[in-house]
């Protein structure tokens, strides 16, 4: 995911985040996003990550990181502990999506969610014409190696937020190299939402 696309999603998220706010990044990986947000916005960041090797990379960047899984990692926090809770590219890999998402809304004043759009035209074409599970820039894994447990589209997420009464304050849709403004559910590889 070290493509321009990944950099672009960091820029969008940075745009959603207030300067000098507190941020909890769930599934922060090697800490690139928190490092970027610290430099761009001066945020006070905290990451949670399960992978030990990724922890070393975070610490090397000076990113605060706690070793643990997202489910227990999140539930220990008090309400509104952070200005922002970020689930970037981790939502689709969590077993209990609903628990984590609703807990994120409790722990953060606002929540930023970024995920790959399964209904992107590339995926649709691969599935339709090739008859095979799609492998695209935003869903780069073969079926047997994918860490993704859930596959959702941008419209799915809209529906879900409506159902749960989550307010979508801002959204951004990313194509291969730039933002997508028309028919995002068809043309966007990644959707990013600011919800509260």
């Amino acid at each position: 995911m070290k493509s321009d696309l990944a950099r672009l999603d960091h820029r969008i998220i940075s745009d959603f985040v207030d300067p000098r706010s507190s941020v909890l990044d769930l599934g922060c990986g090697e800490g690139e996003l928190l490092d970027y947000l610290a430099k761009e916005k001066g945020v006070r960041g905290q990451g949670i990550e399960i992978n030990e090797q990724a922890i070393y990379k975070c610490v090397a960047k000076g990113v605060n990181v706690l070793h643990g899984d997202l489910d227990t990692g999140l539930s220990e926090y008090l309400d509104n502990s952070f200005n922002f809770v970020i689930l970037n590219q981790s939502l689709q890999q969590i077993r209990n999506v609903e628990t984590v998402l609703l807990d994120s809304v409790r722990v953060g004043e606002k929540v930023i969610v970024g995920f790959p759009n399964f209904a992107h035209i590339g995926s649709r074409l691969q599935l339709f014409f090739k008859g095979r599970a799609p492998v695209t820039p935003s869903l780069p894994y073969q079926w047997y190696e994918s860490p993704n447990l859930h596959f959702l589209s941008i419209l799915d997420f809209f529906d879900y937020c409506g159902e749960k009464g989550l307010k979508i304050e801002r959204s951004a849709f990313l194509g291969n190299k730039r933002r997508v403004r028309m028919f995002p559910n068809l043309f966007a590889g990644i959707g990013i939402f600011l919800i509260s």
Partner: protein, 383 residues
């Protein structure tokens, strides 16, 4: 082998202090004068912003790194302290002091009581981890250091880190508790109690009045053997000894047949040469009594603490299991203390904090770098 050089030839110094009204201990008693043995490595910078205080574990001492003249064995954490190592003596000024109650140059039950001119023995007052920290603070004052860049230690050393974090948070910029707990579990107390009972059951212990005669060698040795079992893991014992037997010749039916028995005997007997049995009693009791939060929720005590914390634990450590580390981390979360935590995959058990040098170095070296540059980095974002 880790990269990095040796701290070189070092010597233990002593700092003696005697406050006018004596040094008041947490239990209300006081000591008229106290001596702390300590060593330093590296140089204090002109701003005095690069000082790090290292705390030793139960049986450790002030000699953390380098070599004493004529010695072939370096200090107990030499793999971590030296030029280019995790605690880089080219960058940092490292201080390690022996604890109050110890027997390696600091005031403890084997010291001479100035009132009686005889060793304290059991007339030595009951000391606490907090008292140890209070003495170390005296030493830090004496060295002219206002704010420590960091404090670090494993096991009982980690308890001292937590004591500093709760008692003197304004004196530290960061803290590294390793393989430790905010308070002992009944299981940890139980192991310590068996060790104490082994010492006190030795006829030579004589209610602590053995100085000048035979020390309770069998009791202390047995206490150490029990300790060693708890410092290893099932897997590390399997790897190190298996069911290997020693020589075939057996002068006694119940001698040390297996390698693991020989190992425990060797370490038990060796320990007697270097450690005082009464110190073992006092220090293990101080560990058992320790409660970083003193009965309150730890998060309340940590509220407002600005120091950054790096908590390190090891997977196979069953003496200080991961859940105890998680309690410390949880308190950091609830109090808003900036924290990092890593549970390192290791098979060495509790001993891992002395042995998993590469992983610890990885974390600590970077964490300290950030702590040292921290104020400059955050400065960029001000206004």
């Amino acid at each position: 082998m880790q990269p990095g050089g040796s701290a070189g030839t070092v010597r233990t110094r002593q700092y003696r202090f005697s406050p006018p009204d004596g040094f008041l201990l947490e239990n209300g008693e006081s000591l008229r004068e106290i001596t702390l043995a300590y060593e330093t490595y590296g140089r204090l910078n002109p701003d005095k912003t690069n000082a790090i205080l290292i705390f030793h574990a139960l049986s450790g001492d002030a000699h953390a790194a380098g070599f004493h003249p004529g010695d072939r064995k370096p200090g107990w954490w030499d793999a971590m302290i030296g030029p280019g190592k995790a605690f880089d003596t080219d960058k940092y000024f490292i201080v390690c002091s022996n604890v109050l109650g110890g027997c390696k140059g600091s005031t403890g039950p084997s010291s001479i009581n100035p009132k009686t001119q005889r060793p304290y023995g059991l007339s030595f007052p009951m000391i606490s981890i907090g008292d140890m920290a209070a003495c170390q603070k005296q030493l830090v004052d004496h060295l002219g250091i206002g704010k420590l860049l960091s404090i670090a230690g494993g096991s009982m050393g980690g308890m001292q880190v937590l004591a500093w974090l709760t008692k003197y948070p304004e004196r530290i910029r960061s803290a590294i508790p390793i393989s430790t707990a905010m308070r002992h579990s009944p299981q940890q107390i139980a192991f310590n109690e068996v060790g104490r009972q082994a010492i006190m059951a030795d006829r030579d212990w004589r209610s602590g009045n053995y100085y000048g005669g035979h020390p309770p060698a069998r009791g202390l040795s047995l206490a150490r053997m029990i300790g060693h079992i708890t410092y290893m893991s099932d897997q590390s014992m399997e790897t190190k000894f298996g069911r290997q037997r020693k020589e075939k010749f057996k002068p006694f039916k119940f001698g040390a047949d297996f390698e693991v028995e020989g190992y425990l005997h060797y370490h038990g007997q060796n320990f007697v040469k270097r450690f005082d049995a009464n110190s073992y009693l006092y220090i293990t009791r101080a560990m058992d009594n320790f409660d970083a939060a003193e009965g309150k929720p730890l998060q309340e005590v940590l509220k407002g603490v600005e120091a950054r914390v790096l908590v390190i634990a090891f997977k196979s450590d069953w003496l200080y299991p991961a859940y105890q580390t998680k309690e410390i981390v949880k308190a950091c979360k609830l109090s808003g203390v900036e924290a990092s935590c890593c549970e390192i995959d290791s098979t060495y058990g509790h001993d891992a904090f002395l042995l998993e040098v590469e992983e610890e170095t990885n974390l600590i070296a970077h964490f300290l770098k950030k702590a040292l540059n921290g104020h400059e980095v955050t400065g960029e974002y001000e206004i």
